[in-house]
């Protein structure tokens, strides 16, 4: 008896039935994610109330009733107006460039061009930084080593000579005149460039079998990690002049930089130590079996793996370093927060929303930098992820 003689046996699979309508599409999604149980429904309603209450207010403050274009604070003083963006736009030069002198040669150029070219030294620095940074962040672009060297070693030197001037016929600009976002980015960059190598050295020292070196590193790390950054900055600004030999004055910005670098190198050291400890012992032994000396073992075998392992931690330290740059405003350096803070007293723009608008702008700037850093670190994490997750 063959199959084709038996008419009641199916010769092919029947089409699967569609899932019940209540578990697919928008309704299914809502049942699963919003109204799965009574508690869930209540929570959803609470959440909706929050959104419905907050969203229109935020919209009306930030966009709807905001003042976008104005000559002075007159329009922002009208009761019921929202953010005073015209004020931010008017003071934008100060927020970005601080007291940096404008190149007078470009004063007659139209509109934005006069600003862009007027601050050409800072803008050139921004441009070069961007050109070097973007390929460095893209995993597929080759020549990473050269690129990294250019960005982390050559670029800071270029920044110094270009901004400080005094050479190649550039007008000398003392660091007191540097300010705004420029200074925030400089402190961030210098902090990152110095704290990573210092941190690696300290972490290696802490792992060392040599007792004196180990103790020195542990003490250094624990000291900086247990005190707040603000005390370190105070110490740097008050005590460094005392520590320096007679007649030597340490630049104010440099003092803050030293403080930030030392402080963050201790945190970096602990992050790197995590990576070193997570390495299987076999790697250390294999490296030693190859007959490599200590530095070759570390540089060729251990560190590349250990650092790759702690990239998220390193980026997190960078993020907190970048946020912490705002603390230099307390010791009197005009970073972006200090420029915003001091502009709240700008009589031309006095209005009830002046301060709040400035802070929102400043927060947005910091947020964009920090959020993109953390997103980038997440994507790196995912790229390097080899384990199995459920």
């Amino acid at each position: 008896m063959s199959v084709d003689t038996v008419s009641y046996v199916r010769t092919e699979l029947s089409e699967p039935l569609p899932p019940p309508r209540s578990s697919t599409g928008v309704i299914g999604w809502m049942r699963k994610n919003l109204f799965a149980s009574v508690t869930d429904t209540i929570l959803t309603l609470v959440g909706l109330v929050i959104v419905v209450w907050a969203a229109p207010q935020l919209y009306s403050f930030l966009i709807g009733h905001a003042v976008w274009v104005a000559e002075d604070g007159e329009a922002c003083r009208v009761p019921g107006t929202g953010a005073c963006w015209a004020y931010v736009w008017d003071r934008a030069d100060f927020f970005v460039y601080g007291f940096y002198p404008v190149d007078k040669r470009f004063a007659d150029w139209p509109g934005v061009l006069s600003t862009v070219l007027g601050y050409w030294r800072i803008n050139l620095v921004f441009l070069v930084g961007l050109v070097l940074l973007v390929p460095l962040l893209m995993p597929k672009v080759p020549y990473k080593l050269i690129n990294a060297l250019l960005f982390f070693v050559v670029f800071p030197v270029l920044v110094y000579f270009l901004l400080n001037g005094g050479v190649f016929g550039l007008e000398a600009v003392p660091t007191e005149k540097w300010g705004g976002l420029t200074v925030t980015l400089i402190i961030g960059l210098v902090g990152i460039v110095t704290s990573l190598p210092l941190g690696i050295l300290l972490a290696l020292g802490r792992q060392s079998k040599l007792p004196i070196i180990k103790i020195a590193c542990v003490m250094f790390i624990e000291l900086w990690r247990s005190v707040p950054l603000i005390t370190v900055l105070f110490m740097a600004s008050i005590m460094l002049p005392l520590f320096a030999p007679e007649g030597v004055t340490v630049d104010k910005l440099l003092r803050a930089l030293i403080g930030v670098a030392l402080f963050n190198s201790a945190y970096m050291a602990e992050v790197v130590r995590g990576g070193l400890q997570a390495m299987p012992r076999g790697q250390y032994e294999a490296a030693a079996a190859l007959g490599l000396n200590y530095w070759k073992r570390m540089i060729l075998i251990i560190l590349p793996q250990a650092l790759k392992y702690v990239i998220p931690g390193i980026v997190n330290t960078f993020i907190s370093l970048f946020k912490d740059t705002s603390l230099v405003s307390i010791v009197g350096i005009f970073d972006i927060l200090k420029t915003v803070q001091s502009s709240t007293a700008d009589l031309n723009w006095t209005s009830p929303t002046q301060a709040i608008t400035g802070y929102i702008f400043c927060a947005a700037v910091f947020w964009v930098f920090c959020f993109s850093m953390s997103r980038y670190s997440r994507s790196m994490e995912r790229r390097l992820e080899t384990g199995h997750k459920r």
Partner: protein
Amino acid sequence: MAVQTPLTRPPRATSWLNDPVIRGWIYQVVVAVVIIAFIAFIAHNTATNLAQQNKSTGFDFFFQTSGFDILFSLIPYGRGSYYWEAFIVGLLNTLLVSAIGIVFATMLGFTIGIARLSGNWIISRLATVYIETLRNIPLLLQLFFWYFAVLKAMPGVKNSIVFLDSALNQRGLFTPKPIFDDRFIYVVIAFVAAVVTGLFVRAWARRRLEATGARFPVFLSFVALIIVLPGLAWLVSGTHVEFDVPVIKGFNYSGGLALPPEFLALALGLILYTATFIAEIVRAGVQSVSYGQTEAAQALGLKEGDRLRLVIIPQAMRVIVPPLTSQYLNLTKNSSLAVAIGYPELVSVFMGTTLNQTGRAIEVVFITMLVYLVISLTTSLIMNWYNARVALVER
């Protein structure tokens, strides 16, 4: 039988300079000499600079009158007080704002962290937005925002926002302060007794559970004890509590509990900022417990609550607690940012005003750093003990 020849060192193939032990000692001596020379160099420079500026050194300033007033103090303090009292005031204010910050940041952080893991889409999105916004904005900026843009922009005393006998205005928050009479002590005693009894009940229930397998509603009986015993004591002792309600007198509120805007802004900023980090720690902790654990607990037939209490939470806590402590330390250290908005904590009172008035930079900086060092080292000692206790016992 082979005669064992005594082991002899083979002659050195290379110079003694290549011996790792000798090299190690050479490196260490070099490092030690460099460090000592550096410290000596700094000490010499400092001494020279101080001598040239005609500055005196020493800790005697502690017993001089400070001559400045402090806006918010837990102990009696005035212009005539000594510097050491100013130091204590600052230290207490630091500890106060840290303690309050830690309690509330933990509660908020756990809530937000669990909300972020929630299956409810809108709740988890709201939690994510909260975390990602506040975490990426510097704390100092948030403090400025709360202090200058929100609390200082509050209405004046005459137009205070009044709710439940409390008043919120430019000068801070004024709330009723409970005043207890002498007999209230019985209620306190009853409360302590309830807690102690509760602990005994817990121990007894556990022994009985292990011996017979019979369960006892420990949590409910604990709650009942804590409500019933003090309540009884309240009724029997006949104590009554009055509230000192703040009222407008002249240009300001008087009476009640007055919290200056500086304190409110600092506490608010610290709580909201640290909660984001705690939320992320909680999320990571809960996610670190693999799903197999949940399945295994279900296979054992444990109820939902028991599953969480006996299987998931203990394992999650092992991951949560160490970074949580470091967040507590961060919060304590971050409270020093108060110097920017004028809340008189340690750095502001001591490293700010005292240093400016006495000019004893080295002593003041040294003591301030020492305080933080002690706080942090004590915490890490306790942490190490805890870690050793909960560490995974491996074969």
